[in-house]
Every structure is written in C-alpha cells, then in structure tokens.
Symmetry: C2
Subunit: 332 residues, 2 copies
DNA sequence: TTGTAAGCGTTATCAC
DNA sequence: GTGATAACGCTTACAA
C-alpha cells in the first residue's frame, strides 16, 4: 500500500492525498473524507522511510548505554522511552558492552540512520573523539556519564552529595577506617564518586582515614574481589562505602564467604538503591534516587534541544537521599 | 555529505561510487581507491534511509515488550540486541506498558518503519487482532508470551516443568496446603504457570490441596496484596509457589509486616531466579533459567526466518532447573 | 570498466 | 482546491 494506491482509490492525485492525510492546505471536505476513507479501507501506513528521506527528520532518537540489562540503565531507558514516545519519537537502542570502540560504532550507525537526537551514557570517550564522530550534527544529551564540554546537556546524579552522606553516616557510627568499592574510573559516576570519597574523607582527617580503595568495574564479581582485597589489608576497614549496589552485593557475598558479619564486623552502605534492598540480609543502607526519572529528564532535555534551532546546553544534577537500613549498623 | 559529493570528489559517477563502496561489480583498483579516499576524507556516511527506501530492507528489527525495565525483559533485550547486532540488525524498541492498545500501536509504528522483523512478548493479543495489524507482512518471533498459531516461531520457558518442580519440592517438605501467587492471566507465562500449578497439585490430591490462588499482575505490590489475601484465609497455605520473583518479593514483604516467618510459618519458592536471590533474607528457592539466552534464541530464530523465503515456524521450550535455598525450608 | 536513467514513497513548489 | 513535477539519497538495470 502506497500513497499512490490511496490516491487512485480516492480518485485524486498523490499530492492531494498527502495533503488530506496530513491535514495541510485547503481542501474540500469531500475529498478529505474520500481520501481518509480510501486510506482506512486499504489499511494504508505511510512509509516513514520515504517520509523521512523527504523531510529529513526521522523522529527517531538513538539511545546508547554500556549495558541495557543493568537495572539502572534499564530503568533510565524505560523513562526515556516513555517520554520520547509521548513526544512522538522512536527509540533506537544501542548497547556498547562497556567498550569505547563499540560506542563509537554505535554512534556512527545511529548517524547513518539519521536519528534526530542522541541520548548517551558514555563509557568514557574523550571529547575530540566524540566530536569527530558526531561532528555536532545532531543534538546530544548525556546522562549518568558525560563528556564535559560536549553535547547540548546532561543529567548527572549528585555523586558528591551522595558519597558524602554515606561517609558521614559511617563516621557518625564511629568508624575510623573506611574503604571504598570503586566503579569504572572512565565513567563520570565512577571517578566522581571516587573523588567525592577522597574529599569527604579528608574533611574528617586525621581521626578518620581511608583504609583502601579497590575496584574498577561495576560488576558484582568486582565487588566481591575488591572486598576480599580490602579485608586482607594489614589494617582492614571497619566500614565500606560502595559505589553501586552491584558492588555492594559482591561485598556481601565476600563477607559471607569469609564469615565476616555485616554490620558488626564490617558496616556497608551503597550509592544506588534497589527495590529489593530492604529484603536483603542485612537490609542495605543506600543513597537513593529515581533512575527512571533521570531517563525522563534526559529525554525531556533532548526533546527540547531537538525543537530549538540553537539550544543552549543545560546541565542537571539529580538529588539523592540517604535511606538507612541495617547494613550500616542502624537498627530497624 | 551525500554519495554525489563523494562521486564528484573522486571524479566518477554516483553509480560507480556506489559500486566501489559496496564492493559490487568489476571496477579498476584505481577508481575503487579514489572513491574510498574521497569517502574517508569527506567522512561519508551513506544514508540508511535512502538505502532502505531503495532496497526495501531496513536491517532493523522491532522489539516489543510489556515493560523494558523489568529484569527479565531487560535481560532478554540484551541477549536479543547482541545477537541482532552481530547479524547486522538494529533494534527499535517499543514498551507497551502492559497495554494491549499500546502494543497494537507499537506494531503499527514498527510496520510503518518497515522493520524487517518483529520480536514480541505479547501482553495477550488475540490472534485475529494480531494478524489484522501485521497482515503477515514481516516475520515475527514471540518470546515468553506468544500467540498460538501466529508468527514464525516462539521461545517459551518450560512453565509446566518449572511449576511442577516447585510444587513437588514443597510436597517433599511435607506441605499439604499450598497456595499460588499468580501473574497476568492473559500472558502465556501467566496462565501456563497457573494451569501447571493446578495439574501438578492434582497429581498429589487428595492428600495435598490448593489453599488458594491470588494475583493477576507481575508486580511486587500485587505479590504483597495476594499474599495478604492468602494468609487471611480460614485455612491458609503453609507454603507458597510464586509465579515470579517480583511476586515472591512482595510475598516476603507481606510476611515481614505480619510477623510471619519464612520458611517456618510459610515456605516460599518462586519461578524465576534473580542474581540477588542468594542474598535475600531468607535466600529464595527458585526455578532458574537464563533470560538473556531466551532473547538470544528468539533473535536467532528471527534472523533465520528473515533470511529464508518461506520459513517454517519453530517453537522452542526453554529448560529450567530448581535451585534450593533457604526459603523453602532447605538448610544451607 | 564506467555512466545514464529510472525508481523506491513521500512532500513541497508551483502552476492551473 | 487540486494536479504535475521535482527532489530527498541511494541502488541497479541497461547502455556504452
């Protein structure tokens, strides 16, 4: 079914049919109805392909993340998808599997598809490389992990405040040697949380000291390994700040293996809440936020950027809050 | 940058440039190189739009699910995306938010985009409606939830075996009144698990009886509500089979509120494993499988179907296995 | 070995 | 009001 078929059936020209269907121009009610009828009868679906080629706008947005199956990205995707859908955009998904090369490849594919905008959580591309690939051809909004100076906006969590909340809480519980389970150093949330940990700890020096920092990936496995490392130090930490739930879960596993009790032998608190955190053993104290909303916010920013001719970059910081449960030593 | 620009720069015609770039036809090495050079210098990215319009193949697949942010779908998406990417396909994502209307809308959008194939986990469309919308225009593979008699294949979990494993295990522990936390009755995994529960229980009758069945949605909230309902029965169950982790988590929450101890007062076991199941309090006994692999399998089936002219429908059942942990009463 | 021309299905510009 | 016609950027007969 093409527009031509509809036009023929309605006894008009293709251009008239197009106008009727798109409600453009002055048309007699009769022809308008005739075209609508024909379209309905033939179950006409205009080819977005042809339409896009002609109008050079695809109403499609590229979404690039390191790993869709991670709860955070899945939730952000959901939020973004919903917002984009409501604004009339489709979502083309790219999972770069934590690889910079694949991320670049993904961006190229997306550009080849002439997406109208980009939503990306970078694994840590440097600015030149990014600009070289995209050439500023389409608006791009970063979320969770950004490239400073690039793009038309970003939505990043308040990593500094979150980590500070965690550190301060441990200190209030009386801990003096605290360790950090760190994530990928090339991603914004990875290095910002690490840096935040160091400054937050510095504010409590010299009474309180960094027992150690371990981990370079966002996985449960890495959390387990890092915890094992930290616990085998000469002066092991009595409390751990985890940069993510995944890492914290790994930490819990490690403790279980070693017979280390949480929170008695080792207190634990993580950046990132999970819907099941309360049901863990022990319930995990965490810094929480709405991952879905960061996706929504990023998508909104992008929709705005796509509709303006010369959008000014807007950078959002997302608030976080502490939820105390059992793993830090709080009761109840 | 269009192909015409590249052609001009290389001093050849557009068709020659096209052939050179696509490695088709007999061309002199010189022109081939000249075109490649020009393309590189100009950073030429062929428009997939124009290409698709011409060749009427988009190398794009539509992925439709009730909720991307649910761990199962997110994992399936990941697997599918990976497999599709490796086969040269892009993934267009649609989240229908558990609504049949939105699912239809999603299918229409996808068809308007002329996707080459469909990967869908239906919320429970009836066959006529589905056929009417798609008209068999593109190959479709269902996963997790299918429409019998439609599509070119499906990948469904072995719901019957899984539930039987769960029921039998409870019975082995000596339970005589067992309840079911049920999911959406319009989805394959919802009604199959419910039916499987009834037949599995029937095999143990009359010594063992169904204490009750509650729940119509896949959410944690529903699990909590359903558990509350079942526990308030005159003859409440001593064991619960949950149709999903989410429901089970809700059940755990309900028990906690009521002061009901798991597994002492109520044993619990779920269909669906979670990577954090072991760390819950108590660790959740579950029927496990690889959600990511069901996505991969479905994608493989689809890729195959898309490359054949007259694909025969292939239906796969995915194996599951029981993992006993503390929530059923097993120790360690 | 390479160029010309047609066409994929739309929409936009211009006549009538 | 409505209809030709061109154009979007590419591929592919068919010529040369």
């Amino acid at each position: 079914m093409t527009l031509a078929d509809v036009a023929k059936k309605a006894g008009v020209s293709a251009s008239t049919a197009s106008r009727a269907l798109n409600g453009r121009g002055e048309l007699s009610d009769r022809t308008r109805a005739a075209v609508a009828d024909a379209a309905r009868v033939l179950q006409f679906q205009p080819s977005q392909l042809a339409r896009s080629l002609r109008t050079s706008t695809t109403h499609t947005v590229g979404f690039v993340v390191p790993d869709v199956s991670s709860p955070f990205y899945a939730a952000a995707l959901k939020g973004a998808q919903t917002t984009l859908h409501d604004a009339g955009y489709r979502t083309l998904l790219m999972d770069c599997e934590q690889s910079a090369e694949r991320e670049i490849e993904a961006l190229q594919t997306l550009l080849a598809h002439r997406v109208d905008g980009l939503l990306v959580s970078t694994v840590g591309l440097d600015r030149e490389r990014f600009e070289e690939v995209t050439g500023g051809r389409v608006p791009c909004v970063f979320f969770d992990s950004s490239i400073v100076g690039s793009g038309e906006g970003s939505v990043i969590l308040d990593n500094h405040a979150g980590i500070e909340l965690l550190v301060d809480h441990h200190v209030e519980h009386g801990h003096r040697r605290i360790g950090l389970l760190a994530g990928s150093p090339s991603e914004t949330s990875g290095f910002e949380r690490r840096a935040a940990f160091e400054t937050a700890m510095a504010r409590h020096a010299p009474e309180v000291a960094i027992a150690g920092i371990a981990g370079r990936e966002w996985s449960l496995r890495e959390g387990r390994r890092a915890t094992l490392d930290l616990l085998s130090l000469d002066e092991p930490p009595t409390a751990l700040v985890s940069s993510s739930v995944e890492l914290a879960l790994g930490g819990m596993l490690a403790c279980r293996e070693l017979g280390v009790r949480i929170p008695d032998d080792l207190a634990l608190a993580a950046f990132d809440d999970a819907y099941f955190a309360e049901l863990l053993d022990p319930p995990l104290t965490a810094v929480a936020y709405q991952p879905r909303e960061v996706g929504e916010a990023a998508a909104s920013l992008l929709v705005e950027a796509m509709s303006e001719d010369d959008p000014e970059a807007r950078d959002l910081r997302f608030e976080v809050r502490l939820i105390t449960r059992g793993s830090c030593g709080c009761t109840g």
